[in-house]
């Protein structure tokens, strides 16, 4: 399946959890993995699976930093990811007729 249609609708991003993940990350420069998990109220394993899918598409990047002597993962949308998410939102708005 192609990653996007002509109007920007993106089947990969449209999956409910991934759309919300992209929405959270589009609202900030970077968000900690645990914060995304808390915002979306999903388990770490579920979030990890969706993060992997988005990373495979090149939409999402992650970095690591130490806090309280533990490695923390920070997530951010790539430029491609931001463009794909925003195009997808535009496509959704067109579908609603808004």
């Amino acid at each position: 399946m192609s990653s996007t249609t002509d109007d920007g609708f993106n089947p990969t991003i449209h999956a409910p959890q991934r759309l919300r993940i992209c929405a959270v990350l589009d609202a900030a420069d970077r968000v900690e993995f645990a914060t995304v998990q808390e915002q979306l109220k999903v388990s770490a394993s579920v979030l990890s699976k969706h993060v992997s899918v988005l990373m495979d598409k090149g939409y999402l990047g992650q970095s690591r930093a130490t806090r309280d002597r533990r490695q923390r993962v920070w997530l951010s949308l790539t430029q491609e990811g931001k463009a794909a998410y925003r195009a997808h939102v535009t496509a959704l708005k067109e579908i609603t007729g808004a």
Binding site: M1, T12, H14, A15, C22, A23, A27, V31, T35, R67
Partner: protein, 156 residues
Amino acid sequence: METEPVATRPTPEEAAAALREAESAQESTRAVKVPAWYYPVLGLLFAPYGLLFVIPREGLWNLVLLASLAAFIGAFVLLARIGVNQMGVLRWLTLRELRPVAIWSLVPILGGIGLYLAYDTPWAWVAMTAGLGVAIALFGPYHRRTSPYHRRNGDR
């Protein structure tokens, strides 16, 4: 399977629901508040910055100046890092959110410039940065209470 792309295009109702979900997720992220201590500490760090302008530019004082500048920058970076780590979000405030402090800051800025022009003294900059420090410190509680993104969930 949950991780597979969504095969079918949504109906207008489904698209509208998806947009509401996305907007709700974004609002929750924007509603994450800066820690209460952050802006007062930032203001406290910024306030004495004007003293750099009264340090003599000679001999060992140059080293003091460089060390002070390095300490200021290092402290600011450390403060930002601690604040972001505590929030779990790195988000720059919007121009709308920053507008109050930008307006308040005009008072010490114009006052400092006026003092300098009137008295030709570097202490005018000390007064200016002290005033800016107060403006920044006061911005924190104001922002926590009035940001358009914070009203939805109350304290977080």
